[in-house]
Point group: C2
C-alpha cells in the first residue's frame, strides 16, 4: 500500500470507494461494541471474585489487630490497609489515608476542600481567589479535566513528551501565583502509556511555584499495571518532594479498581504527615469511617506487594492479547497508509493515537455510525477541545478479543475514510 499522502487523487478515490463498501458491510453487521472506557473485562472480574465470599467467614477475620473492622472508627483507614498501599507505592504507611472505593472521589474531594477551606499552605480558600489556574498535561485523563473545569479553574494545556509533561513549560507556568496545581498520571499515563522519566520526576519534585499551596495531583492509577514485561520500579514522589524541600506539595492517589473490582475496590491518598493531619481534621467532619470490612477483605486477599504483582500477571495474561489485537491491526492497516502515529505501551489501559489533524471527530462519528463507541474526540484535552482534532483514545480492555478485532477493523476503516476525505476524494 502507498502512503495516502503520496497517492494520486484518482488512487485516493478508488481506495475510498473500496473503504466505503467495506464500511457499509460493517454497518450491516449491526455491531454494538465499546472501546470507550478503561473498564475491565468479565474475565478479569472472574479472576478475583472469590474475594467476595471466601474471606470474611471467621470471627478472627473481623479483627485487624484489636480493631473490630465491622464497627465505626479508624477514620483514616485500617493500619493494615495503609501498610499494603504503602508497600505498593513505596511510601510510608503513616502517610496513607485509605478511604472509600474510588480514588477519583478522593481527588475530587481534595480539590473541593481546597476550594471550600483551602489546603495547608493556602492563604485563603480557593473560592476566594480571583482566578485559579491549573496545569493539564494533554493528552490526559478526561475525568481529571472535568473536575478542575467543574470548579471553574482556568486550565492550561501542557504538552506531553516521551518523558512525561514538558517540564520547561511547567517550570515556566508555575511562576504565576494563580497556578495552583497540576494533574499527573506518572506511570502508564492516561492515555499515552508513558512512564515519566526519573528526570521528569526529579524536576516535578523540585518545582518552586509562586503559589505556596501549589499541589501536584499524582494519580498513580497504573502503579502495578504492566501487561507486558516485568514490573517497573518507580520513584516515590512523596520522599522526592520532601528531599527537594517541598514535602507538602504532592497528593498521590491509587486504588485497587483495576487490581480487584472496579467500584468495589479500595482507594487511598498518600501525602506528607502535615497534609494528612490537616485533611483528617476536615474529613472527620464528613464521615465517621469508611468501609473497613472491604479494607480487611482486601488486606486478606491481596496480602502484600509480591502477591499483588502475581495477581497483576494474571490480569496481564488477559490484557496483553487485547492490546496486541489493537496494535497488530494498526501496524497492518494504518502504518502503510501513513495517516496516524501511536504509542505501544507496556502497561496501563489505553492506546493513544494521533490521527491526521482534523480527522479525529470524523473518524469517531463514522465509528459510531457503524456501532463502535469510542472515547469522544477531544476528551483527552482540557474543555474537551483538541486544538488539532487529532488525538483518539482506544480502550481495549472491555470487549473479548473476538469483538475487539471486529471493533478495531471498523476503527481502521473509519480512520482511513476520514483521512482520505481530508486529503480530498
Amino acid at each position: 500500500m502507498t502512503a495516502y499522502s503520496a497517492m494520486t487523487a484518482e488512487a485516493r478515490k478508488a481506495e475510498y470507494a473500496v473503504l466505503t463498501k467495506e464500511f457499509e458491510r460493517l454497518k450491516g453487521l449491526g455491531l454494538n461494541l465499546n472501546m470507550a472506557r478503561g473498564k475491565p473485562g468479565k474475565e478479569q472480574l472472574d479472576l478475583v471474585s472469590d474475594m467476595t465470599y471466601s474471606l470474611m467467614d471467621r470471627p478472627e477475620n473481623f479483627m485487624s489487630g484489636n480493631i473490630d473492622v465491622r464497627n465505626y472508627g479508624e477514620m483514616s483507614g485500617l493500619p493494615a490497609a495503609k501498610e499494603l498501599f504503602a508497600e505498593i507505592l513505596g511510601c510510608k504507611a503513616e502517610q496513607v489515608f485509605v478511604g472509600g472505593n474510588a480514588s477519583l472521589q478522593l481527588m475530587y474531594d481534595t480539590i473541593s476542600k481546597a476550594y471550600t477551606h483551602g489546603l495547608l499552605h493556602s492563604e485563603r480558600p480557593w473560592c476566594r481567589e480571583e482566578t485559579v489556574k491549573w496545569l493539564c498535561p494533554a493528552p490526559g485523563y478526561d475525568r481529571h479535566f472535568k473536575i478542575t473545569e467543574s470548579f471553574g479553574f482556568e486550565m492550561i494545556t501542557i504538552p506531553m513528551t516521551a518523558d512525561g509533561p514538558d517540564m520547561d513549560a511547567v517550570e515556566e507556568a508555575v511562576k504565576d501565583p494563580a497556578v495552583k496545581g497540576i494533574w499527573c498520571v506518572p506511570k502508564y499515563s492516561n492515555p499515552d502509556g508513558i512512564i515519566y522519566s526519573d528526570e521528569t520526576v526529579r524536576r516535578m519534585a523540585g518545582l518552586k511555584p509562586a503559589a505556596p499551596d501549589f499541589t501536584i495531583m499524582w494519580d498513580n492509577a497504573y502503579c502495578v499495571h504492566e501487561f507486558e514485561g516485568e514490573y517497573v520500579e518507580f520513584p516515590d514522589i512523596i520522599s522526592a518532594c520532601a528531599e527537594a524541600g517541598s514535602p507538602d506539595m504532592v497528593f498521590e492517589f491509587a486504588s485497587t479498581s483495576k487490581i480487584t473490582l472496579p467500584g468495589a475496590g479500595i482507594a487511598c491518598f498518600a501525602t506528607s504527615m502535615e497534609n494528612l493531619y490537616y485533611m483528617e481534621k476536615l474529613l472527620t467532619i464528613q464521615i465517621i469511617s469508611f468501609d473497613k470490612v472491604n479494607q480487611q477483605r482486601h488486606v486478606l486477599f491481596l496480602k502484600n506487594k509480591e502477591n499483588v504483582l502475581k495477581l497483576m500477571k494474571k490480569h496481564a495474561a488477559i490484557m496483553a492479547p487485547k492490546f496486541h489485537a489493537v496494535l497488530d491491526a494498526l501496524e497492518t492497516e494504518i502504518k502503510p497508509a501513513g495517516i496516524a502515529e501511536w504509542c505501544s505501551p507496556k502497561g496501563g489501559y489505553f492506546v493513544s493515537l494521533n490521527a491526521m489533524p482534523g480527522t479525529a471527530k470524523r473518524t469517531l462519528a463514522l465509528c459510531k455510525e457503524a456501532g463502535v463507541t469510542m472515547t469522544g474526540a477531544g476528551a483527552t484535552f482540557p474543555y474537551g477541545k483538541d486544538p488539532q482534532d487529532s488525538n483518539i483514545r482506544i480502550a481495549p480492555s472491555l470487549p473479548p478479543v473476538a469483538e475487539l478485532e471486529q471493533a478495531i477493523a471498523v476503527f481502521c476503516t473509519c480512520l482511513k475514510m476520514a483521512a482520505l476525505e481530508k486529503l480530498g476524494v
Copy 2:
C-alpha cells in the same frame, strides 16, 4: 430520699460526703467505659455478620437484572437497592440515590455542593453569599452542627418541643432570605428520641421560605429503629413537600449503618427527580460508581422492608435491656433527687437528659475522672455551646449490660455530686 432542693444545707453536706466516698470507690475500680457515641455493640454486629461471606458466592448473585455489580457503572445505585430504600422510606425508587457507606458523607456533600456550585434553585453558589444562616433544632446531632459550622454558616438554635422543632420559630426564621436550611432527625430525634408529629411534618413541608433554595436536611437515621413496641409508620416528607407545592425543598437521608454494619453498610439520599438530576450531573464529575457489590449484598440479605423489620426486632431485643438499665437507674437514683429530667424513647440510640442548669459540664468531668466517657457537654447545641449547660446525651448501645450498669451508676453519682455542688455544700 428528699429532693435536693428541699434539703437543708447540712443534709446536702451529708449526702455529698456519702457520694464522694462512693465516687472514690468507683474511681478505684479503674473503669474504662464508653457511653459517648451511638455505636452498636458486638452482639448487634454478630447478628448480621454472615452477610459478609454467605451471599456473593454464586455467579448469578453478581448480576442484578442485567447489571454486573462487580464492574463500573450505575452511578446513582443499583435499581434493586433504590427499591429497597424506597420501600423503607415510603418514597419512590426513582427518587433514591444510593451511594457509599455513610449518609453523613452524602449530607456533607450536599452542603458542600450547595457551597461550591449551588443547589437547583440557587441564585449563586453559597460561597458567593454574604451570609448563610442555618436552623439547628437543639438539642440535636453534633455531627450535623459541625458540618454547617465547618462551612462558616451562622447557626440559629431552634428550640425542640415534644412534637419536634418549634414550628412557630421555624416559620418566623425562614422569612430571612439568608436562612438556607434546617437540620432534622424526624423519627427518634438525636438525642431526644422524639417523633415529629404529623402537624410538625405538615408545617415543615408547608414552609414558604424567602430563600428559593432553602433546604430541609431530613436525616431519617432511625426510620426503622424501634427498640420497644411495634414499628411506627411515618409520613413521606418528599410527597408532603410536593403536595405543598415545594417538591425540591427536601433531601432525605438514610443508611443501614444501624441495620447491618456501621461503616460497612449502604447509604442513600432521596429527593425530587429534579433535584436528583441536578445532583447527578455534579456527582458524575466526582465518582464513576459506588460499591455495587455491597449494594447487592444488602439487597440479597435484607430483601424487603418486612424482612428489615424482622431484623430490627432482633436489634431491639439487644437494645431494649440497655435502655432499661439506663432508665431504671435514672428512675431509682435521680428522680427522687429532683435534679434532672429525661425522655423515655421507644427507638433511636439515645437518652437525652436535662440536668440542673449549670451542672452538665461538671457532671461529665467527674464521669471522666471515674473512667466513664460521655458525649461532651454542649455537643448537642450549635458551636458545642449549651447556653444552659444542662443537656447530656447518654448513648447506651455499645457497652454490654453489665458494664452499662456500672457506667450509669457512675453517671448518677456524678450527676448528684454536681447538683449538690451547685446548690451549695
